[in-house]
């Protein structure tokens, strides 16, 4: 049996290691009404259909670190990202950035908060306005927040472009004159323009070629070190997570099933889903590797399985798994929502 202590908790424990908490997410939920139009429903006698995209997610991010949210389709990771930056209102729960809750903030506090949070988007071809010059795109936050005016703005834009590995003369060009990787750099420059503390990165390299991805990831790490940035990094790619993240949260169908520091997650996973993900991810040295395929797919998020959502696919399943949702608990350095987490820990990290 594993010697690790396990205790049941209701709340996310505040980390008492060094580093203060910049982002605190508590019981965050988001539901979408995806029913047909009212008239159609009445005629067809259908029930309302509610999609629970995010279900009671709690985690916290320390200043200066990278917290990665990992999940496949339907996991809710993008929805969480939008709620953290304030583009979407939560249905329940709260997001606190350095103590301020955007949902309840006064306008002045809200503007101040906006300056400190920025976002980098996934699609380099949709994240820059094709009809604007780069100078205007990168300068928009500077002007909106009144950080500079007149010629100062142009100078600042030039500095930002150099900082991300482009040249100041690129400011007069239009986005279509750049490659995908360069556009992503422009997006990063725009994110840095307001001198933020927190940057939410929504799959920033998923649309890029491998060699370009390496450049952008290296750049992001350098910037984090130089500017003391905090990243909330959303992705589906475990290999990128391994390179970028300090702490990782694993999402399945809107619920946070495991949250752990990087090494613990990759070497001693405590949730069956994490273990399955690690096994499924293709490896560069996996010649003739046999996967322990679980032969299942992510179910329809509108009518998820009862109890623990993962139970139909789970190799460690026991009777109560389809009746109750397992409470979050601490197991060593990890937090996990699974009744059989100790067995998972003992089983080791996959078939290798």
């Amino acid at each position: 049996m594993s010697g690790a202590e396990s205790s049941t908790i209701d709340r996310v424990p505040v980390r008492d290691e060094a580093g203060d908490v910049l982002v605190e997410v508590q019981g965050l939920s988001r539901r979408f009404d995806v029913s047909s139009a009212w008239l159609n429903r009445v005629v067809r006698r259908e029930d309302k259909r509610i999609l629970t995209a995010v279900d009671e997610v709690s985690f916290s991010v320390n200043r200066g670190e990278t917290y990665a949210l990992v999940g496949e389709s339907g996991s809710g990771k993008s929805t969480i990202a939008k709620m953290v930056v304030g583009l979407l209102a939560p249905s329940a729960g709260s997001v606190r950035i350095d103590g301020t809750d955007p949902a309840n903030a006064r306008p002045a506090a809200m503007t101040a908060l906006r300056r400190r949070i920025q976002m980098i988007f996934q699609d380099p071809y949709a994240s820059l306005n094709p009809r604007w010059r780069v100078a205007d795109i990168v300068g928009e936050p500077i002007r909106t927040f009144g950080l500079a005016s007149g010629n100062e703005v142009g100078k600042r834009v030039g500095e930002l472009l150099e900082q991300v590995g482009l040249s100041a003369s690129d400011a007069t060009k239009y986005p279509h004159e750049f490659s995908g990787g360069q556009r992503q750099r422009i997006g990063i420059a725009r994110a840095l323009a307001s001198e933020p503390e927190l940057i939410v990165c929504d799959e920033p390299t998923s649309a890029l070629d491998v060699s370009v991805q390496a450049q952008v990831l290296n750049l992001m790490r350098d910037l984090q070190r130089d500017l003391n940035l905090t990243y909330l990094f959303i992705t589906h790619d475990l290999s990128v997570v391994r390179f970028m993240a300090d702490t990782i949260g694993v999402l399945y169908l809107g619920r946070l099933v495991e949250s752990a520091p990087r090494e613990a997650l990759f070497e001693r996973p405590t949730h069956p889903y994490t273990r399955m993900l690690l096994d499924a991810a293709p490896r560069l040295d996996g010649f003739e590797r046999v996967h322990a395929t679980d032969g299942g797919e992510v179910p329809d998020p509108i009518s998820p399985p009862s109890g623990c959502h993962y139970h139909p696919r789970c190799a460690f399943r026991v009777d109560k798994c389809d009746q109750r949702y397992p409470p979050r608990r601490v197991l060593g350095p990890s937090e996990v929502a699974c009744f059989e987490a100790e067995r998972v820990l003992d089983a080791g990290a996959g078939s290798g």
Binding site: V85, G86, L87, M110, T111, R114, R115, I117, Q118, M119, F121, Q122, D123, A126, S127, L128, N129, P130, R131, W132, I137, E140, P141, T144, F145, R190, S194
Partner: protein
Amino acid sequence: MKSALSRAWQSDIAWAFRGSPIAMLAAFVFALLVIAALFAPLIAPHTPFDPSTLNLMDGFTPPMSEALGSGSVYWMGTDDQGRDVFSTILYGLRLSLLIGLAAVLFAAVLGVTLGLIAGYVGGWVDALIMRVADIQLTFPSILVALLIFGVARGLTPPELRDQMAVWVLILSIGLSEWVQFARTVRSSAMVESKKDYVQAARLIGRRPIAILFRHLLPNVLGPVLVIGTIYLALAIITEATLSFLGVGAPPTSPSLGTLISIGQDFLFSGEWWILLFPALTLLALALSVNLLGDWLRDVLNPKLR
């Protein structure tokens, strides 16, 4: 400036233009008509709407023949009042173009604005605007124009009616045409609103007005040019129809439609030129605009490239 022009000449659109004889011909005809209309006061040999210059004895003179009264040669003949048909066409063309362009511009501004709002805001605002649009679409545009025209006419005092005719025409034709602009812009706006650059602007707290007009507008304008050209032809025809029916431009300052209406009375008594030349001009105008619009639509269609 020179390099911008030469770059424009090298562009794909200019190349497609040079490769299409129809487009070049239509553009040439249209340009000719626009220049004729613009410089009408300078080109017209006579001033047909100043009664003091008219000689009733010159009436009904056939084209290229000497007039009975003054002896001058009229290129396209004269009408019943002795007005030089060529000059009336020039002024009529001017009015037709003016009303057509102004109506389309009005329809475009109204339609684009409503389309942007509907596409970006969504929800009940979108539903409301679209229902109004749908209702209006069930009526033919001429009927709508007629309706609005009638109402506006009824509201203006009789002595001002002739003067207000132009404005009322622009208003009624414009109001009958905004729907297509709104619909097209709305679907583009819906697509663009979901893109990340709009999210980025919302993120830094830009106000909806700024997002609509600084971010979205430049990206939805593409199809508007094509629709605009096609609807220009429609506006011209609608105006001509209204004037032909007698509810448009009055005879005191006639458009091409009015001239056709006047000429129709004399067709069967043998003075064919009073009808034919204005009709041919209208045909040339509408056709050239239509062909240009079709060509533009094909050339700008990304799927056909």
